[in-house]
């Protein structure tokens, strides 16, 4: 499993969170460089994404803190408004690439992929595995006990999201905003419908991989407390 990317600020832009989830990136949000240092994994952050158009001063301070260390965090991706372009001058050492905000998800993904390729690392695992389930994020293919699953796009995205966060309970609203965004005819019940369909496709033997947590939502795999 690759190390996560650190994202500033906390809470992150919902659209950014969704793009990272869909792209299969592991990430954590931090409200300040101090917190980022405290949360830092043993092998260091795989990179950073800093949204600079909310509070520019705090954002630059964050960049400076994570770059001016013995082991600078790289790559560092900036998201900023067009009006801030002049601020980039004389700050070349603080970032590796930038993207205008509001960003196009495909553009951001392409830039991230490129940056990670350049530095030879990558926060993006190509394979997500849990028990008999395996998802190849590069080819979008899923298999259960070696049998390929025929999924629709949204079924695939939902399964991927759940499998990337095993043991965690998600409400319908959280799943809807992280996996779908809000443009969908079904409203919040859509999640139930898709879970029902995923279970049918996983087959009786494996349907229990997704459990219903009464009056809360859904959980993939075992509870963290073995329940």
């Amino acid at each position: 499993m690759m190390e996560p990317i650190v994202v500033f600020p906390d809470p992150p832009l919902p659209e950014l969170a969704r793009t990272l989830d869909l792209g299969g990136y592991a990430w954590k949000a931090a409200p300040s460089a101090d917190v980022a240092a405290r949360l830092e994994p043993a092998n260091g952050w795989a990179g950073a994404i800093v949204v600079a158009d909310g509070d520019p001063e705090a954002a630059w301070a964050f960049c400076r803190a994570v770059r001016k260390r013995d082991m600078p965090v790289a790559p560092l991706m900036l998201l900023m408004s067009g009006a801030q372009l002049a601020d980039l001058e004389l700050r070349d050492d603080l970032f590796d690439d930038f993207c205008l905000n509001p960003f196009h998800p495909r553009e951001l993904e392409a830039r991230l992929r490129h940056q990670f390729w350049r530095v030879g690392g990558g926060a993006r695992p190509d394979l997500v595995e849990y028990g008999p389930l395996s998802l190849n994020l590069e080819t979008y293919q899923a298999t259960i006990a070696g049998r390929p699953l025929d999924l629709t796009y949204m079924e695939y995205e939902l399964l991927k999201f759940l499998a990337q966060h095993p043991g965690k309970v998600f409400t319908r609203e959280m799943l809807l905003s992280r996996v779908w965004g809000y443009e969908y005819y079904g409203g919040a019940r859509t999640v139930d419908v898709h879970v029902r369909r995923l279970r049918a496709k996983l087959g009786e033997e494996h349907a229990a991989l997704i459990s219903t947590v009464r009056s809360v939502g859904y959980r993939f795999g075992q509870s963290r407390w073995g329940g």
């Binding site: 495909r106 293919q141 005819y185 049918a200 496709k201």
Partner: protein
């Protein structure tokens, strides 16, 4: 390219899909399809595939007839009955004009437009149809059908055959992401019912189209003919498509009110009042064949009267009693539609009628608790209970005057449908039937 298009392209590549079938629906609810090779898919996803619409019922226009089939990548699925060595996939399409604007003759667009109207009011429209159909031994064209249960057509006991057909059908539906709630052998010989689990109306309309094809394909693979004809056999129940409907606001069922004796909210009551008020106007769409009206007769659990009730199955709208603690199961069951309808148009009109009731604040008439089939015409008149149209011709006459129907369907489909169905009625009317020979030839 968008992510979901990318998903489709990669899946086609990884799974070695040889053919992608582009599916869409004509105005009469017939599934239409043409196949493209994977090489054409990328272009189809980005720009749509142009084809001559004049060959499709209800698509033709005077000036130009080329339209675009634009695949909806969310509906991309591998077909379970294709040869595993040469996999095939299907994807539903929206139909667009060459300039990219939605095409008025596309039933899927009619439903989308009406779902958008509901969404402006924060409602999502959920439906769950109960689909009935018959299995028959294949016969000659124009011949009366032979039910499997009676036929000596099979060596196996007939129960085994139809039971196994139903099982195979359900397995194929589940692999296509269409969950089944219940399935059982219906009252009539060779009649079966499969109830689908509720979902948003657009997905469900796509599912009904897929369902009809799956039922027929599976049956045909065993040499059996499956039919959704509303009344294939005289003297036994016909096939309906009772449709359970509900509105959700976010995660909440907008039809539920714990304080009400019926557990129905004011939204539900007005929606139901709208359905009842406009029922006669939308009947030509929910029951679109000459044969549909042979199902809507007394004595076979099909509705005749425009009324509602909880347990009384003679009413047009039934309020199923949701189990305690199952607030989300609160729903209305609209009982007149039959499975030969165009599901996109039928769902769009049920929704529009219900929303109209909510907007205009229609009052719900009292529950009809009596068995309406036992009441005389005078008694019904006193209760203010009307009847559904008695024939396709009656239904067209009521539809023709309906503002709700023209608003919902748009001029293009409204006018084409009336024209097409009037001509169907005319050719039916010129028939001299065995009934008439029997009754009149000797006595007159």
């Amino acid at each position: 390219m968008e992510r979901h298009q990318d998903y489709v392209m990669r899946t086609v590549e990884e799974r070695g899909v040889r053919l992608v079938r582009l599916w869409f629906t004509d105005v009469l609810g017939q599934l239409k399809s043409f196949a493209i090779s994977p090489a054409e898919l990328e272009n189809a996803l980005e720009e749509g595939m142009s084809f001559d619409g004049s060959s499709i019922d209800g698509f033709s226009r005077v000036q130009e007839s080329d339209v675009l089939a634009v695949p909806d990548p969310n509906t991309f699925e591998l077909l379970p009955w294709a040869d595993p060595k040469a996999p095939e996939a299907r994807v539903f399409c929206d139909i667009a004009n060459l300039d990219g604007s939605p095409f008025d003759g596309d039933p899927r667009y009619v439903l989308r437009r009406n779902l958008d109207r509901a969404r402006e009011r924060q409602f999502s429209f959920y439906v769950a149809p109960d689909l009935e159909f018959f299995y028959f031994a294949p016969g000659a064209k124009g011949q009366a059908p032979v039910p499997l249960d009676e036929g000596s057509f099979f060596d196996l006991t007939t129960n085994d055959v139809s039971g196994s057909l139903r099982k195979q059908t359900i397995r194929a539906l589940e692999t296509l992401g269409i969950p089944v709630e219940y399935s059982f052998h219906e009252d009539s010989p060779s009649q079966h019912e499969i109830d689908l689990t509720h979902t948003d109306a657009l997905t469900m309309a796509d599912s009904v189209m897929t369902f009809r094809l799956v039922v027929k394909e599976v049956a045909a693979s065993e040499g059996v003919h499956a039919t959704f004809m509303p009344k294939p056999l005289e003297g036994v129940q016909g096939s309906g498509m009772h449709t359970h409907v509900s509105l959700f606001r976010g995660e909440e069922n907008a039809f539920f009110d714990p304080e009400d004796p019926y557990n129905l909210s004011i939204v539900a009551k007005r929606f139901m009042a709208g359905l009842l008020h406009h029922a006669a106007e939308i009947t030509a769409i929910t029951n679109q064949t000459v044969n549909s009206y042979k199902r809507l007769v007394p004595g076979f659990e099909a509705p005749i009267h425009i009324s509602w009730a909880r347990n009384n199955r003679s009413g047009l709208v039934r309020v199923p009693i949701a189990k305690r603690g199952h607030a989300n199961a609160t729903r209305l069951e609209y009982r007149s539609p039959d499975p030969a309808c165009n599901p996109y148009l039928a769902f769009a009109l049920m929704l529009a009628a219900g929303l109209k009731g909510i907007e205009e604040g229609y009052d719900l008439p009292p529950e009809a608790e009596a068995n309406l089939f036992e009441l005389t015409d005078e008694e019904l008149a006193k209760l203010g209970i009307d009847q559904l149209p008695q024939s396709l011709s009656d239904a067209l006459r009521v539809m023709e005057r309906s503002e709700l129907v023209v608003d919902t369907l748009g001029e293009h489909i409204f006018e084409w449908f009336l024209r097409n169905k009037r001509s169907e009625w005319r050719s039916y009317k010129t028939q001299v039937t065995p009934f008439e020979y029997d009754r009149y030839l000797r006595s007159l």
